[in-house]
Symmetry: C2
């Protein structure tokens, strides 16, 4: 039996039907026309756009309208620091970095150490702040532009954020949060307040600049409900509604489901050793047949294969080669062992490089952090 699809900021489970999500959330599909229009400005397209990992949006056309009128946008994305960063988290960050480079855009990167403390009974503030630090190293390692990137923890940056969050909070009733997030009388009062804090970066550049600046948020679709609220409230505070482009979830290495830190065996963390990566990839669920003989005869099924997804969404940027790989698999011309070995080698290479940059990030981390 397939588990019912659940997508909230705190829980994603079941088989995800992304087209159903667009309908349920009331977003718009990211059309070929919009992507082509973006390409007129960027010249090329990131593979996450070419391959529709980003599939949905709110007001992305308006962001381009404004850009074409010389009203430049800034970027905002975030991370809930409940553990180490894994490959799934990097997906929206990769695109964010590409957008920053293409548009020379400022970026506010929010670490919701308050949220993860409030929603996870097992985590202390010390825990979420420790992970906020660790996650920041990953952000910096991706090569974001030091001059244009501002990383902050909600708790450490509360002097700035709380004041603005109050303005959102005053316009947001318990009733609305109940409808959007399913809160109950037994929800804690910090959870109920939290979406006010998550809203602030949507206006932060406007506050600092003293004039309205369009905001574009690249994020995984599960976080959309927060910004549905923010978009209702923004005009009441005199700000633009933030625009959003939504990504799908990178699947885990098991059968179905998104990559999730709660299942560490099917999840590749940026802190994993080369051996751990080898082991996890070798245990990955694939679309292979029961026997090698059968697979050679009937071919594999890349559509359900986690390994193929990793090539497709991250590790094989060449469109021609990824197509060839799919055909070879379906034709039974490549076996899972070989395919896994090659993927493990690419991931290990990426991680070795990433971990080196992560170490170097420790020396410059202060230059990225906002805390006053």
């Amino acid at each position: 039996m397939t588990e019912k699809m659940t997508v909230t900021p705190w829980e994603v489970k079941g088989e995800i039907d992304y087209y159903k999500l667009i309908k349920e959330f009331g977003t718009e599909p990211l059309t070929d026309e919009l992507i082509a229009r973006l390409k007129r400005h960027t010249k090329d397209l990131h593979l996450l756009l070419r391959r529709k990992m980003f599939f949905s949006h709110r007001d992305f056309g308006w962001i381009l309208d404004e850009y074409e009128k010389d009203n430049k946008f800034y970027l905002y994305t975030g991370r809930g620091p409940s553990g180490h960063t894994h490959l799934g988290h990097l997906i929206p960050w990769f695109l964010t970095k590409w957008l920053q480079d293409k548009f020379k855009a400022k970026l506010y990167f929010q670490l919701t150490d308050d949220e993860k403390f409030l929603f996870n009974p097992k985590l202390s503030i010390e825990d979420t702040q420790k992970f906020a630090y660790e996650n920041t190293l990953d952000i910096i390692a991706l090569g974001f532009d030091q001059k244009r990137t501002f990383v902050f923890s909600d708790i450490n940056y509360a002097k700035t954020l709380y004041k603005e969050a109050l303005k959102v909070a005053k316009k947001l009733t318990f009733s609305t949060t109940k409808a959007v997030f399913g809160f109950t009388s037994e929800s804690n009062v910090g959870q109920i307040f939290f979406t006010s804090m998550q809203s602030v970066p949507c206006f932060l550049e406007s506050i600092k600049a003293g004039k309205n600046v369009p905001c574009l948020i690249p994020l995984a679709i599960d976080q959309d409900p927060h910004f549905r609220i923010t978009r209702d409230i923004a005009p009441k505070l005199g700000y633009y509604k933030p625009a959003i482009i939504h990504s799908k979830f990178l699947p885990g290495l098991g059968k179905g489901g998104k990559m999730s830190a709660s299942e560490p065996d099917t999840c590749i963390f940026t802190t994993d050793s080369q051996e751990q990566i080898d082991r996890k990839i070798s245990n990955a669920f694939t679309g292979g047949a029961a026997t090698i003989k059968e697979q050679k005869e009937k071919g594999g099924n890349p559509d359900i294969c986690s390994v193929y997804q990793y090539y497709y969404f991250v590790f094989e940027p060449d469109d021609k080669k990824v197509k060839e790989l799919k055909e070879k698999c379906k034709a039974g011309k490549i076996m899972c062992g070989e395919c896994k070995k090659e993927l493990a080698s690419r991931i290990k290479k990426f991680m070795a490089e990433h971990q080196k940059k992560r170490e170097q990030a420790k020396k410059v981390i202060d230059k990225f952090i906002l805390s006053d």
Copy 2:
């Protein structure tokens, strides 16, 4: 018809029955024994204690137990900056200052600019922060010890407060705030969160000292519900429950009701001119008879007289003289005009002096403010 008694942190109306309040709120009466025990340490007693303006408490005996074991307490009180300070606000501050002097106690003085913004549809953050500044001048003018007094606005001190408030919030459900404050689904999410911020100063000295320090809160009884919540949560966070001594409300200059900024004609602000004071006192409701002739024959009724209350609670510290005044009034030997004139003169003298100190406070305000 007498209006029904309502006492919440945001509304006080009707005829107040203080003994009923003790029962409803579940506090203890401040007995003669406790006051006598306090006097063994302070040698004398402030008139607000002698005359039972402070009438109720929670764990005040425990505060003295700890003090006698050399475990000294600190003080915490506050102000909701929704307007200028009036005489009614000064009542708990007078006693707080006296306690600080007698016990050389540290004091945290909280200005809830967040609360007043969240609960008052007409006030902006700029408004509540302006009043927080104005109210701070009054605090300093009362002569609090600069070395031991730490004044902060919730918004400006959020970097410290928000982190600690989260720990309270995680243990507080909407259901509890609903039961204690009567919040509904239409309450805004900032209101629902707020009591977490008001709780923090109960632990602030323990946090700073790195060990548990007893906290004593002198305040008007309407604020008690916040601390009923804090007292439930404090032990779960490893802190002492804060102790409280509760004051009654200083009546307004009209017939019945507490002094309230929402009725400025019956309310003496610390920013009033000498002329305004004269006018307000001359219009005050008294216990005088319909005619001078009748009053000379039958006497006045000091028990219902607002003017007498001001002598009793603030402006006639001499116990013998206040008793004489009452007797003279009841015997028809003093008329309201004369009594008002004398009171106005005392208030004007106090205010002239206070306003001078208020001006001087502007130069030292930074030395009192916590903001990091």
